[in-house]
Symmetry: C2
Subunit: 300 residues, 2 copies
C-alpha cells in the first residue's frame, strides 16, 4: 500500500576522504524515497526553492516517485554543507546549513494523498511534522525520525509527536540524548515508554537494535569496506524499512525482522557512493542479491 513521506529535499555539499561534491540531490525525504520506491508507491511531500534544478525533478519522477505534493516556495532550496573525517565516518560534521524555503514553509498534502495508509515523518522540524500529521486521515502506520538539533531545541514538540506514532527510528546518539540512558537496551525501553510501540535504533557500521514489547532483536551492519559518503544512510535505512512494511500484508514479527534486514541492506548501498549514485540505479533484484550475501555473513 502507498507510503507518504514528509521531510526535507535538499542540495548538499559533501566532503569525505573520497572527495568533494557540490549541490548533490539530498535531504531526508529524497533519500528516503529513493529507497522506499523499491518496495511500494511513494508520495514525496516537501518544499523546494526556485533554484532547484529541473533535472532533479525529472529524475525523481523517472524513479516513480509521486511529486504531487512537492511544492515550490519563494527563496532557495534547503542547503546542507557537511564533512566526514576518515577517523569517524559515522559522524557528520555540519559546516553550514541554509534553511531557505524551509523557514516558514508549511506542510502541504494534496487531497488525494491524505488517505495514504502509511506515513513517514522524515527528519525536519517536529512542529512541521505535527502539522503534516494533522492533515492525514487515519493512517495505519506512522513512522518518525528526528535529529539531535530538534532533541536539543524542540524536545517538548518531539515528545508530543512521539505519542502519536507507531514506529520511531533513531541513531544511537539520538536515542541516548532523548532518554539520558547510555545502555542502548535501556534507551530502547525508555523510548518505548515515550509512546512508539516499535523502536529501531541504528548504530551505523555496528548494525541495528529493534525493540517492541513482544520482540527484541539485533543485526550487525552489512560489512562495507569502502565507505564513500554516509549522507542519507539513515534515511535510506528508514525508506527500506517503511517501504517493506508498507508493502507487507500485516506487521507480523517475521515481517518486522525482514523489514529491518531490507533497511540494513539498502543503507549499505547508500554509503558506497556520493549522494544517490548507488541508490538511484538500485533494483529489488540487486538488493535481494546483497541480502543473500548478508545472510551468509550474519546467519548462524
Amino acid at each position: 500500500m502507498s507510503l507518504l513521506v514528509y521531510g526535507t529535499v535538499a542540495l548538499d555539499d559533501v566532503k569525505t576522504p573520497s572527495g568533494k561534491r557540490k549541490n548533490l540531490l539530498g535531504g531526508s525525504a529524497a533519500h528516503f524515497s529513493m529507497s522506499a520506491r523499491l518496495f511500494t508507491k511513494v508520495h514525496l511531500t516537501g518544499i523546494i526553492g526556485r533554484d532547484f534544478p529541473r533535472q532533479h525533478l525529472a529524475f525523481l519522477k523517472r524513479k516513480g516517485i509521486d511529486l504531487s505534493s512537492l511544492v515550490e516556495g519563494p527563496g532557495k532550496t534547503f542547503h546542507w554543507d557537511g564533512e566526514y573525517k576518515a577517523k569517524d565516518m559515522n559522524t557528520a560534521l555540519t559546516l553550514a546549513t541554509e534553511l531557505g524555503v524551509l523557514a516558514g514553509g508549511d506542510p502541504y498534502v494534496a487531497d488525494h494523498q491524505k488517505h495514504s495508509p502509511n506515513v513517514f515523518l522524515a527528519n525536519i522540524d517536529p512542529d512541521m511534522q505535527m502539522g503534516l500529521l494533522k492533515m492525514m486521515r487515519r493512517p495505519k502506520l506512522i513512522g518518525l525520525d528526528s535529529m539531535n538539533l530538534w532533541i536539543n531545541i524542540k524536545k517538548p514538540s518531539l515528545l508530543k509527536l512521539m505519542k502519536k506514532v507507531n514506529l520511531f527510528v533513531a541513531n544511537d546518539g539520538e536515542a541516548r540524548a532523548i532518554t539520558g540512558e547510555s545502555n542502548l537496551v535501556k534507551a530502547a525501553k525508555a523510548l518505548r515508554r515515550l509512546g512508539p510501540p516499535l523502536i529501531v535504533i541504528k548504530k551505523g557500521e555496528h548494525g541495528v537494535l529493534f525493540y517492541s514489547d513482544k520482540l527484541m532483536f539485533g543485526f550487525p551492519a552489512y560489512p562495507v569496506e569502502k565507505v564513500v559518503d554516509p549522507t542519507g544512510a539513515g534515511d535510506t535505512f528508514a525508506g527500506g524499512l517503511m517501504g517493506y512494511l508498507s508493502a507487507a500484508k500485516r506487521l507480523s514479527l517475521a515481517t518486522l525482522k525482514k523489514a529491518v534486514l531490507y533497511a540494513t541492506t539498502t543503507a549499505s548501498f547508500n554509503v558506497e557512493g556520493f549522494g544517490m549514485t548507488t541508490t538511484a540505479p538500485l533494483t529489488l533484484k540487486k538488493v535481494n542479491a546483497r541480502l543473500k550475501t548478508f545472510n551468509a555473513f550474519a546467519a548462524f
Copy 2:
C-alpha cells in the same frame, strides 16, 4: 583436547557506576580459564606473588583448572586498579598498575603440559608470550591476544609473534591501532596479512567481526541491560572461543561460527557482575540456555 593458557593472574581494584570492589581475582589468564573450563580441560600458566590469597587458589582448583604451572614468585601479585564511567562502559580507565612479580617473571610450563595441542597467549608482554610459545612442542592451535600498551611500546615483538599464531583476537581499538585502518573490514584484512589466518575483532556491546580467507561473519552482542563490570569480558570471550575450538573435532566453518557464538555468550555473563561473580557459577547448561535466547535475538 586440553588447552593451555598463559597470561596474567591479578588482584584487581575496580570502580564502576555499580560500585567499588577491592582485590578481586582477575587477570587475563584467570578470566580466560573461568570461561574455557566450561568446554575443555584448562591448564593455567602464570605467576603470582606471595600475597596471593590461598582461597583464590583453592577456588580455581575447585573449578577444575590445572594449576601445575601457576608459580609463585618473590614479591607482590600483579595489581590493576581501574575505573569505568557510565558514559562509556566499553573503555577501562587504568588508575594504577603494579607489575610486582610480573617484572622479570619468566614463563614456565611443567613438562607434562608442553604437549598441549591448544595454546592461548592471553594478554601479557609479547616477549614473555614468545618465551612461553617456544617451550611448547608443536601445538596445533595457537591463539593470541594483546593490548594497546604492547602495540605502543613493543610492536615489533607483537608483529613477530603474530606470524606464529593461527588465531588473533583484538578489540576494535587495538585492531585499528595495529593496522592504521579505521574501517574494521579493512583492519581485519590487514591483520590477516600480518600472519594469523583467523581474525576475531571484538566490538564490546556492538558484537564481533570474524575474518578468514574463506569466511567473514559478524554477530551483534547479547543485549545486556545491566553492565556491572566489564573487566575480563574480552578474556572471557577468548576463553569461550578457544575452549569451544579445543573441544571441537575439527575447525570447520560451522565450528568457527559456533565458537564465536559461545564466546559472545560467555562474555555476556562476565559483564553482569564484578570480577568472576557471574562466571564462577556458570555451567554449560546456563550458557546453552542463554545461547537459545541469543538465537531468538540475532537469528533471522
